[in-house]
Symmetry: C2
Subunit: 224 residues, 2 copies
DNA sequence: TACATTTTGTCACTCAGTGACGTATTGACA
DNA sequence: TGTCAATACGTCACTGAGTGACAAAATGTA
């Protein structure tokens, strides 16, 4: 979850470095940090996502141009596309980036836990993240659903998660678990998860998410 | 159209397509059939898909421009976008269009059949369609998988099918079937179906598809 | 025949995305 | 501190998808 409310001080400093040289002392003071370059890149990336999401949520995805995102930060359009391959990536990339966290979560589940249960609990851990800022999650979900190109990328993200979790599940269970079976277990859990999330969205994001998900998982469990 | 000869060429080209050669004469003779216009539009649409898919399969999706599709048919780029909203639609639209056929298939299943079984059989009916031309199906699937924007649209198509089948299942089962449960049953069946299709693709599209799908459905059935 | 409707082509335009090239910034080493 | 290679950025020019506006052509109807 990106922090939209963070201020853009660092980037302002960077933008002014073209004309002034006051960041020289900054370099002198932080001379120990070797990857100053990486830090700049990280903040630039964060600022781009912040401004981009703000504009998208405010005036829509299609009606917002790259120039509008880039202009208040004093960054060129060309540079934007050095950080994000497409306009859509600005919205969905941070979701894809949390894939390893899911795999870690699954790996940390007790080994005696049943496969489906382990995957379900892994996915449930995301529900608590959503719960920390339901309004933002709801707004982002609306953005994803109302923008066709973003909806497609969101589905793609789901596939990435499924593949990663499938691989992790096979790793976890060993050769007893055939690939097709692993795929289906993960797919079922993801189906329940998505269904619950959609129901939550359809109700305006006002009900409790976690019990809804638990209900969905239980439906999968004893449905045949 | 400004040039007469280009107009004649275009019509001749459309009329000479496959099985529509005789339609021109019959409509000209009877003259009572009012939808000559509609017929032209249908053939134009078919020709665009035919040429487009040929080029996409031959030289790739991204490297094929709309002009290349449109040029051999004597149609303008602007007209292309009156038939298809996006370049991607040329590939995926016919898949979305077969949604009602699925719903009909589900509705025609015997009413005493269990929900999951009915949905599974509905999806299995598509396997036989794929079986009529496995090479083409495989090539199309490779196209969908190797082109990110198409992969996204393909996922979107899956969602459309899921929603349509969910609605049909609720209709079929009556108020006994809550929406969340219906979603999950359909989602599970679709998960198994997709997993089987992916395995089939991973094996180079050479194994028999139907038994693979039946195996996938059976895995869902006795997995918990 | 004449007239209304629909379809199409042309033109001009916006915007996403890319390649090439020059410049500015940074990191490491003298 | 100065030098130099590597990296990051800006500018410019370009391709291609997609759209709005308007005129010309084809069709339906009478």
């Amino acid at each position: 979850m990106p922090a939209i409310e963070s201020s853009g001080e660092a980037i302002a400093c960077r933008a002014s470095s073209h004309n002034f040289e006051h960041d020289l002392e900054t370099t002198a003071m932080t001379a120990k940090i070797t990857n100053l370059r990486e830090q700049f890149k990280t903040t630039t990336r964060q600022e781009l996502t912040r401004v981009g999401l703000e504009l998208f949520l405010q005036q829509g995805f299609a009606t917002t141009t790259i120039d509008q995102i880039v202009e208040p930060l004093g960054i060129s359009k060309r540079t934007f596309f050095r950080y994000f391959a497409t306009k859509e990536d600005l919205v969905v990339e941070w979701q894809t980036e949390m894939t390893p966290a899911f795999v870690d979560e699954l790996n940390s589940r007790p080994s005696e836990e049943a496969p489906f249960k382990a995957v379900s609990e892994t996915l449930l851990s995301l529900a608590s993240r959503i719960n920390t800022n339901p309004e933002l999650a709801f707004a982002l979900m609306r953005l994803l659903k109302e923008t066709p190109s973003l909806a497609g990328r969101d589905m793609e993200r789901r596939m990435v998660w499924e593949q990663a979790l499938t691989a992790a599940l096979i790793e976890r269970e060993g050769p007893v678990m055939p690939r097709l079976k692993a795929r289906i277990i993960v797919g079922m859990a993801m189906t329940a998860w998505t269904a619950a999330l959609d129901e939550w969205y359809a109700d305006g994001g006002k009900v409790e998410l976690r019990p809804l998900m638990e209900q969905a998982f239980s439906l999968v469990t004893y449905q045949q």
